[in-house]
């Protein structure tokens, strides 16, 4: 029982960063701007959360700071891509590099370390070894409460609100939107900043969970989130469902790494435990490839996605 609780809490804490990053990705891609930059948003959010938590000792302030830093980075990305019309892929590469290098510079300047921040003053991590403690720790994370709220709000907003419909219009047919008097630049900028803030909250979850910031700690979650966005066909619900699936895979991988005896017997006949874990890690990428190849139903991106 306790083992199951631990596993479930691991699934949730692995899924949250990816789900929030994917939700952020849905907002910006639905507006018609390809968002490689998710990786950078997550990393920047993780760092912002660490700085704020170290300064104030509050997880909620940390979450807000993460969103603010993410929004700032999103604004920079929007300025480059929307206002200055820079290629979104190239600008995304730059934002990722900026986040990776910028957080390392700030780490050195603020905490005189090349690799990690001091431990956050939020109580020692229990290591999530006891079921109830793992749950209590999870419940103290702002991201846990904000993620469903943001997911629901995004779902409703994209489908029904004026702003959401405008975002979709800008992603599907910007010139039609423009002819109806919508400022495509403004709507896209708003969607990008919003998406970046949400994605950065995913980074905050990483830091709050690990109780410290570690350089490069986003570790490819932004790209996994992009996979979730595509597999979820650019909808908030789909993206979150797939992010949870990816989170479950990653929790499974962690569990298997700790205990080889958990690898299914049938798999062991063919593969070594390490190979089985690699297969589990590769699944999200492989599934996404199949999805965009049209092998898992049609995945149609927003028409104006560049």
């Amino acid at each position: 029982m306790s083992g199951l609780l631990v596993f479930l809490s691991q699934v949730v804490s692995a899924a949250l960063p990816v789900a929030l990053a994917a939700l952020g990705g849905v907002w910006s891609e639905r507006a018609g701007v390809a968002t490689i930059a998710l990786e950078g948003y997550v990393l920047a959010g993780a760092f912002g959360a660490a700085v704020a938590a170290l300064a104030t000792g509050s997880a909620w302030v940390a979450a807000m700071a993460a969103m603010a830093l993410g929004a700032l980075l999103g604004w920079l990305f929007a300025t480059a891509t929307v206002r200055l019309r820079a290629n979104a892929i190239v600008a995304g590469v730059a934002v990722n590099l900026l986040a990776a290098a910028g957080t390392r510079v700030a780490l050195k300047v603020l905490y005189d370390s090349a690799s990690n921040s001091p431990p956050l003053p939020l109580g020692a991590s229990s290591g999530a070894s006891v079921g109830i403690a793992a749950l209590r720790e999870l419940a103290a994370s702002p991201a846990l409460w904000m993620a469903p709220l943001l997911g629901l709000a995004s779902h409703v907003a994209l489908a029904r609100s004026v702003f959401g419909l405008r975002v979709t219009a800008c992603g599907e047919n910007p010139s039609a939107a423009r002819s109806l008097g919508v400022s495509v630049e403004r709507v896209r900028t708003q969607a990008l900043v919003l998406g970046a803030a949400i994605a950065a909250l995913g980074g905050a979850q990483l830091t709050l969970h690990q109780r410290e910031f570690v350089a490069y700690m986003s570790g490819g979650r932004g790209f996994l989130a992009l996979a979730a966005v595509i597999l979820g066909r650019w909808t908030p619900r789909g993206a979150i469902v797939w992010a949870v699936a990816i989170g479950a895979l990653s929790a499974l991988e962690t569990t298997l790494a700790g205990d080889d005896t958990m690898v299914p017997r049938a798999a062991l006949a063919l593969l070594s435990p390490a190979a089985f874990r690699a297969l589990v890690q590769a699944l999200p990428f492989g599934l996404t490839l199949l999805a965009v190849m049209g092998r898992l139903g049609r995945a149609r991106p927003p028409a104006a996605l560049s």
């Binding site: 920079l76 480059a80 190239v90 990722n96 510079v105 300047v109 790209f223 990428f285 965009v292």
Partner: protein
């Protein structure tokens, strides 16, 4: 098609480096001018520094040329990252499998071909997906990057590792590319090797292919006007596959610098990041082979200069400057008339 020398991009790049460096160094509590001098001296001020700058530029010439090549067909090969890792893997496997007495005339070409094949297979697959299934190459190559990263991590930690070592079996001696410090005494101790010369030659040859050969001209035609190209009898499908295959091969060949030049074996982390930096190099140097080489040297110098100043300010200050260069140049390119390659 004129080979536009991106003067404006170069000016903006320089301005971006200077500005970010000033701000970042000042924020780190040091004097910008002296740190910049130190970085420049570290990158160019000695034979060793210069050689290290060129060594760090070598894989970037390969990946920069790779991304720029696909861009000519208006294809965005963001998979240079994974293609480079595949090149590292392929050349290390082939190089280690050869009998130890294999003469270099056989070993070196085989290993080069393996690296090219590793990258080309991934690039070609993405090209095929684009041509036959309409899958956007940005998405497919990003996912292939993820797959290759998982695959190589597993292989280097497991099946390919040699006993207690964390790397693959060494390649045969005949496959090793010579270090240039054998010829130039001032370069002593540097990792600079003949992969640089191969990269520069390949970049120039790729350019000549694009400008003078039938297949290359078709690639550019596809890039500037797909419909006109189709009307002229250029097959969109096969041209797309060809452009991505050659681009992937160039990116894969970056693996030769690491495996045949520097290390002699493959290990986790070799080549990580150079694919993405290659995107920046291609952006800065698009249009001319020499501009690609120059852009790669610029990024190599920033990496080497970063190490030189590391005692005073974090070396990542230089990476922040790289990011600023990419953003600035991307914005300038979008707003200038020589925008399209």
């Amino acid at each position: 098609m004129r080979a536009a020398i991106p003067t404006r991009a170069a000016v903006v790049a320089a301005a971006a480096v200077l500005l970010t460096l000033n701000v970042a160094v000042w924020a780190s509590g040091d004097a910008p001018a002296s740190v910049l001098m130190l970085a420049a001296r570290g990158a160019f001020g000695s034979g060793y520094g210069l050689a290290q700058t060129l060594a760090k530029a070598t894989p970037l010439v390969w990946t920069g040329a790779a991304v720029a090549f696909a861009l000519r067909a208006r294809l965005f090969n963001i998979g240079a990252e994974g293609q480079c890792l595949a090149g590292v893997l392929a050349t290390a496997v082939v190089g280690a499998a050869l009998p130890s007495s294999t003469p270099w005339v056989i070993a070196a070409p085989l290993c080069l071909a393996a690296a090219a094949f590793g990258g080309a297979s991934l690039g070609g697959f993405a090209g095929w997906m684009r041509a036959r299934l309409g899958t956007h190459e940005v998405i497919s190559t990003l996912m292939l990057n993820g797959l290759v990263a998982v695959l190589t991590t597993w292989l280097y930690a497991g099946p390919l590792r040699v006993g207690a070592q964390v790397h693959t079996r060494p390649v045969v001696d005949g496959a090793r590319l010579s270090h240039l410090d054998l010829a130039v005494h001032a370069f002593r101790g540097s990792a600079l090797n003949t992969s640089l010369a191969l990269a520069v030659i390949a970049t120039v040859v790729a350019h000549l292919y694009l400008t003078h050969m039938r297949g290359g001209v078709a690639i550019r035609a596809l890039g500037s006007s797909p419909r006109a190209a189709e009307a002229l009898g250029v097959s969109t499908a096969s041209t797309t596959v060809r452009a991505m295959t050659i681009s992937g091969a160039l990116a894969g060949l970056a693996g030769t610098h690491y495996v045949l030049g520097v290390k002699g074996y493959a290990e986790q982390g070799l080549g990580t990041g150079v694919g993405f930096t290659g995107v920046a190099v291609a952006m800065l140097g698009a249009g001319s082979p020499w501009a690609i080489v120059a852009a790669a040297v610029l990024f190599g110098a920033m990496a080497q200069g970063g190490l030189a100043v590391n005692a005073r300010v974090p070396s990542d200050v230089l990476s922040v400057a790289q990011a600023a260069v990419i953003l600035a140049v991307a914005a300038v390119r979008a707003n200038s008339r020589q925008e399209r390659p």
